[in-house]
């Protein structure tokens, strides 16, 4: 096979890859077969696939990765060896750019890599060091992979606590009791301590036994307990149908109360990180904690929080923030203000340059016409472009005819339903744009006119709307005097001299039309 034929195969292959825009078994199967039959261009094909993975949009990356997985598993050599050293890079690249659902699929995929052995051999699919790197990468991202399920770890105990906390929450909510509060505090404190990784195995066991005691106690006091609860394993509690909601709520409360600060990195698809803001007054422990346990460090707590977050999926998915929003988020979170310190804060806080910049330089691009500021990122550039377009249109419109009047206010029902965004220059339903086609259509039509009635002697007339003078002109074709650019006022007879400018009429009518649309939507009683 000559060089050209080879490159043609690779090109074809790359072309076929572009079809992989959804999870299609046939396509992946076909492409796997082609890869098997053309092992002599394996490097070219791999290059095409990896290119595809790196270049395509995040939502489609998974499918190309599935293809790679399929080829490595069914064809094996040379593909798995060739791509072997790249696997971590590819995997982490995809992982960082996708949403949580796809991430879960990636984790599943990775699980299969760990155990897969190449057909007829005992060799792993990918080099061990790559697998290890992915493993540590994933554990940094706080994803639980299926290792050591039985082993007693801080994490498993924390999970235990996490299932207990909602129960306590609910109980405290239903029947406030100081003892319960104490227990609850103890639990949360225990959780804090657990995240200190310095704990030794025997300590962990001690904690577990205490935890089991609490659990047992809770279960005994709980009337409608399910049988599964009697065991010490952590099964979901049927009577707690919505523990997630409770935890979400609690978590939200903690964020609002300022106990937890939320940070999210700019990297798309990244998870928010959480930082605890310790209350100044410490609560009393009702539990004996070994004195030698050091206070957990912040970073560990953050991890803990992220894991609870990931587990209970507080906000469903990561929040897409613009650079400005991110900066604002970080700056504002840094301020520590509470109700008692508010007056002091207002009196004497000296706003830092970076806080001030939120009002000024953080949106560095200032409109030369009106002073409105825009950010430098994609969102800001887009808005700025629309804003400048708007200025341009407005000035153009104002330089030509722009007869306008103030329109009526909305009634309360319409106002409540009014979409504020429709006022701005970024509105997709821009009134200027949407009106333009209508007007050009009107211009193309013949000039409207009203023939002066036979019995009329006064050739001068005026528009009922704008009250401007209208003089009659002679139309040679008709042999009649006519008022041009005018139409007869609606409802007037053939011999009436009541006329309005066609433009005034359409202007007035358009507004009434818009009004009617609105009333149709809200079904308001009309006259």
């Amino acid at each position: 096979m000559n060089k050209d034929a080879k490159s043609i195969i690779v090109e074809d292959y790359a072309q076929s890859l572009t079809e992989l825009t959804f999870n299609s078994r046939p396509i992946i199967y076909n492409l796997t077969i082609i890869a098997r039959e053309n092992t002599e261009v394996a490097d070219g094909i791999l290059k095409a696939i990896t290119n595809r993975i790196y270049k395509c949009i995040p939502d489609q990356k998974l499918f190309a990765l599935y293809l790679l997985d399929s080829i490595c598993k069914t064809v094996g050599d040379p593909y798995n060896t060739l791509v072997g050293d790249e696997v971590f890079n590819i995997f982490s690249h995809v992982y960082l750019l996708v949403n949580n659902t796809i991430r879960q699929k990636l984790v599943n995929l990775f699980e299969s890599w760990k155990t897969f052995k190449i057909k007829g051999t005992n060799l792993p699919l990918f080099p061990q060091d790559q697998i290890d790197r992915i493993f540590s990468f994933l554990s940094q991202a706080n994803v639980k992979t299926g290792t050591n399920p039985a082993q007693l770890t801080n994490r498993s105990l924390i999970d235990d606590i996490d299932t207990l906390i909602p129960i306590f929450q609910k109980k405290m909510y239903e029947k406030p009791d100081p003892k319960l509060t104490d227990k609850y505090n103890a639990l949360t404190q225990l959780k804090v301590l657990l995240s200190n990784q310095a704990m030794k195995l025997n300590e962990l066991q001690a904690v577990q036994s205490q935890l089991n005691a609490i659990k047992q106690q809770e279960l005994n006091s709980k009337k409608n307990m399910s049988p599964s609860m009697a065991s010490s394993t952590i099964n979901p509690i049927p009577s707690e149908a919505k523990p997630n909601n409770k935890v979400n709520e609690l978590f939200g409360m903690l964020v609002v109360s300022g106990l937890i600060h939320v940070d999210q990195s700019l990297k798309p698809g990244s998870l928010p990180t959480y930082r605890l803001n310790f209350p100044k007054r410490k609560y009393h422990s009702t539990m004996n904690i070994p004195n030698n346990v050091a206070l957990p460090s912040n970073s560990v707590l953050e991890q803990l929080l992220v894991s609870t977050h990931a587990k209970f999926n507080v906000s469903g998915k990561s929040i897409a923030r613009t650079e400005y929003e991110q900066l604002k988020f970080n700056e504002l979170n840094r301020l520590s203000i509470d109700s008692t310190g508010l007056q002091n804060f207002v009196n004497s806080n000296a706003a830092s340059a970076s806080e001030k910049s939120l009002l000024y330089e953080a949106k560095p691009s200032k409109c030369g016409t009106c002073g409105k500021r825009f950010t430098d990122d994609e969102d800001g550039t887009q808005k700025r472009r629309m804003h400048l377009d708007w200025h341009f249109r407005v000035n153009k419109k104002l330089s030509t005819s722009n007869v306008q009047s103030r329109i009526w206010y909305l009634d309360d029902y319409e106002w409540v339903k009014f979409k504020e965004a429709s006022l701005s220059e970024y509105s997709t339903a821009d009134p200027v744009d949407s009106n333009n086609p209508v007007e050009t259509v009107e211009e193309q039509k013949e000039i409207p006119f009203v023939p002066v009635p036979m019995n009329e002697t006064n050739m001068n007339n005026k528009c009922l709307i704008c009250r401007d003078q209208v003089k009659a002109t002679y139309n040679d074709d008709l042999g009649e005097w006519c008022w041009y650019n005018c139409i007869r006022a609606p409802g007037e007879g053939k011999n009436s001299r009541k006329i309005v400018h066609a433009t005034c009429f359409s202007e007035a009518n358009r507004k009434r039309g818009a009004d009617d649309d609105l009333t149709n939507v809200v079904k308001r009683e009309k006259l």
Partner: protein, 497 residues
């Protein structure tokens, strides 16, 4: 496209450079200082920011663009280290007809002492609250919270309106969009005096317009994005002129505003900024009403220690349960006491702007004749009359048997209405001419007095001439077409063209 046409450049652009040396005066405003200036109505101040950042009540000025200001008492604050350099010149204002001789000069000075730091801190506190709330709302679809609802209270001429503008502008600049509620019937906020309004601030203020807010929607294109206010009629200039009506309209406005917040996530997390007439501890019932109608959680008291302490005492329970923060901010030394004439002029100008627009956007109002007999005129009832008539009003609950429930109810409604509005039995020149008429949203066939009271304002008309013999009124309405409704409320606001 070579360049984007800009404000004013077509009007004065050609000569700007030539006259720079002799016509314009330069002012440098150092960081943290503000340049305060007053421009009488008969002059127009042409103002250009040459260098740096300058803002008027939180609204940042464009650089190298000429603003035209008339009848204003403004201050340009220089927030950044580099300071701000401006230049200005004055020309006679041809748009203002009144020919009075007093204050014919621009007065101006630079002050280093401003409370802007405190105002910024207050804003940062509010913005942090907004952020936390919006964060919370994102994670809790079922139970959404509202952003900070701020009530600004202070003595007369303490800078309440300026603070409300600053808080709104800063919020807008940080991508929030609070609803600005104006409860001071003296000012027309996106409307005319005598109104109580609520307006979401989804764009910057238009400093060149009368009052420095901007306008409501027009049928065409405006140089500044318009706002969409909800307008309630009060029709009088001071709350004490009819406290019952004032409180009633506040609570109507409160209901609408709270419903609006439920409809819009951004408005909801951004909350409210409420500007008020001068209130003291004697008006505590009004304050209590506002707090409950608008679910106020933050009160900013401007420069009045006594009021602060009284309010703290009064609302101790709310403070203790952490449902209310009361915070004091300093009064700006730049606040000027407005004289009656200036207030009247500004009121007249804002009415003029409602009908005719301003020099940037000329509007075409519509003149028409209406027959008095086709309309029902109500007047806003003034409290002084109420006091004298109080003895004749029935007491609260009636124990009359329910023989004719419907008519009884009707009667009661009528009694209710009399406290607020009264039907004008003889509408004529003496009680209509030159009045501003509030056109209510009430459909023509609806005669329920209660509904009239609940109806908000569709727009305003001006009775420019009443011909008693013909029983006709020449009216000016903002928008062409048939006169839209037949229930009119005669306000205490007078206007002459």
């Amino acid at each position: 496209m070579t360049s984007v046409p800009t404000f004013g450049s077509d009007v004065f652009g050609g000569n700007e450079g030539d006259f720079e040396g002799d016509e314009f005066t330069e002012v440098f405003i150092p960081e943290g200082s503000e340049w305060r200036f007053e421009v009488p109505f008969k002059l127009t101040l042409k103002l250009i920011v040459v260098e740096g950042v300058g803002e008027i009540f939180g609204t940042e000025l464009p650089n190298n663009v000429q603003l035209q200001l008339s009848g204003v008492k403004y201050a340009i604050y220089s927030p950044l280290e580099a300071g701000c350099k401006v230049k200005y010149s004055t020309v006679p204002n041809n748009n203002f007809a009144a020919s009075t001789s007093d204050d014919s000069e621009v007065s101006e000075y630079i002050s280093e002492e401003t409370p802007m730091n405190q105002y910024l801190n207050l804003h940062l506190f509010l913005e942090q609250k907004r952020q936390k709330i919006s964060e919370f709302n994102m994670g809790n679809i079922s139970e959404q919270k509202k952003g900070p609802k701020v009530l600004i209270i202070g003595s007369p001429f303490s800078g309440k309106t300026s603070l409300s503008k600053i808080l709104c502008s800063y919020a807008y600049k940080m991508n929030s969009s609070p609803v600005l509620v104006n409860l001071n019937p003296r000012d027309g906020v996106f409307s005319i005096p005598g109104s109580l309004t609520a307006t979401p601030i989804s764009d910057s203020f238009d400093l060149e317009s009368t009052n420095g807010y901007g306008g409501s929607l027009t049928s065409g294109t405006t140089t500044h994005n318009p706002k969409q206010p909800l307008v309630m009629n009060f029709g009088l200039l001071k709350p004490e002129d009819n406290l019952e009506l004032y409180k009633y309209q506040i609570s109507r406005l409160g209901i609408a505003v709270m419903s609006r917040l439920e409809e819009d996530v951004l408005l909801k997390s951004s909350g409210l900024i409420i500007d008020t007439p001068p209130l003291s501890i004697k008006d505590v019932t009004i304050i209590e009403n506002i707090i409950s109608d608008f679910e106020i959680d933050t009160i900013a008291v401007i420069g009045n220690e006594r009021l602060l302490i009284d309010l703290k005492k009064k609302f101790k329970h709310k403070i203790n349960s952490s449902s209310l923060d009361i915070v004091k901010v300093a009064k700006s030394g730049g606040v000027v006491e407005l004289d009656e004439k200036y207030i009247r002029d500004i009121q007249q100008e804002s009415i003029r702007e409602y009908f005719h627009g301003n020099f940037r956007n000329t509007l075409s109002p519509f003149k028409t004749d209406i027959d008095i007999k086709d309309y029902k005129f109500f007047s806003c009832f003034e409290a002084s009359e109420l006091n004298s008539n109080l003895a004749f009003l029935p007491s609260g609950d009636s124990f009359t048997p329910e023989e004719s429930e419907a008519s009884e109810k009707e009667k009661k409604d009528r009694f209710d209405l009399d406290k607020y509005y009264r039907l004008l039995e003889e509408p004529n020149a003496s009680n209509l001419e030159n009045c501003i008429l509030a056109i209510t949203q009430l459909p023509s066939r609806n005669n329920s007095p209660k509904d009239l009271l609940n109806a908000c304002v569709l727009g305003y008309a001006h009775a420019s001439k009443v011909e008693d013999t013909k029983q006709k009124i020449k009216v000016l309405v903002p928008f062409p077409g048939a006169f839209p409704r037949n229930h009119l409320i005669v306000t205490a606001i007078r206007y002459t063209e």
